[in-house]
């Protein structure tokens, strides 16, 4: 009997990927909270996870839900600030410390495209798994990612040059 790995091994194997995904989807300010809440919820549920489950897809699914919670909470907090002229400028600094252009371009994508890009290209999930997380078909998930990537290439001069080679 081999049984399930210790949760420590799950954190070691997937912690970095889930953190990157949270950062891509949420920006650096809220990513840590989403990561922490996702791994705590995952650890709670871990004994009941089927032994043959795709652990990374399961973790990204939980992180996706936590990211939505964090976004909603941030939106509620942001309501009073929105009335202050110029308050939105601070949000633009979220990309600081990251590789600026691509991070900013990703942040500006519609949520669904951003998520499809992050889950497929960063987490390496197949489109069927991405669709299971986002809802809709695998083809729709593929189109959302393709539309997102096309916009990223238009906004990133480096990528535009590379794609002409």
């Amino acid at each position: 009997m081999t049984g399930k790995q210790p949760f420590e091994a799950v954190v070691a194997a997937h912690g970095a990927t889930v953190l990157r995904v949270c950062r891509a989807v949420l920006g650096p300010a809220d990513a840590d909270d989403a990561w922490s809440e996702a791994f705590l919820a995952a650890m709670k549920a871990y004994p009941g996870l089927p032994a043959d489950a795709n652990v990374e897809a399961w973790l990204v699914t939980i992180a996706h839900r936590k990211a939505i919670d964090v976004t909603r909470a941030a939106a509620r907090r942001a309501v009073p600030l929105a009335e202050i002229p110029g308050a939105g400028v601070a949000a633009d600094d979220d990309g600081a410390g990251l590789d600026g252009d691509l991070a900013a371009a990703l942040t500006s994508l519609p949520a669904r495209q951003k998520q499809a890009v992050a889950y497929h290209y960063l987490a390496g999930l197949p489109y069927a798994e991405v669709a299971a997380i986002l809802g809709g078909t695998a083809d729709a998930a593929r189109r959302a990612a393709a539309d997102g990537i096309a916009k990223l290439r238009r906004s990133d001069p480096g990528a535009r040059v590379r794609s002409k080679r």
Binding site: P6, L19, R20, S36, L106, L152
Partner: protein, 207 residues
Amino acid sequence: MNTDELADEMARDLTRTFPATPGELSRLHDQLAAAAERDGILDVAYRTIDSPVGSLLLAATEQGLIRVAYASEGHEAVLQALATRISPRILHAPGRLEAAARELGEYFAGHRRRFDLPLDLRLSAGFRRTVLSHLPEIGYGRTASYASVAQLAGHPKAVRAVGTACATNPLPVVVPCHRVVRSDGRMGGYLGGLDAKRTLLSLEAAA
């Protein structure tokens, strides 16, 4: 460039753009361990310590110390066995093992003669558990034969079973199976290897 190469390049660019450094992950891991402890879902916490008998793995449930393991047992294998037998909700979380690590440190320095730690004896059952519960009666710096331990445990003829109980002791050093030796004066076996047994017995003889 074909589509696959472009996809790989995009994956690389995104990975570079959204870093996750070992320092950040280590901080998040420690916060997770603290939150799991607070929420009562850290079923097994573990850490390792350096000692004169090599690296020792210490693992504890909420009830107490459940496992001490020598490097020769394979710490990864021991953690996997704990995941299967106790719970897979296991994290490296030194906080819960603070008292155990301190007392073992004092023991190896020759400053402690008995351990005062809550123990979780779930990994040992039946007669083996009875044997283990009698081992602390063999005082520090002394030895007892397998036969006399069988007597202590109330089954004078179960000498071989005492040997098995010692060989499968989940809490070596803390539950002193190293003090059990053969009646002809030779050391007998030891789950941590004979060198470890010799080291512990001479440490106790010298202190």
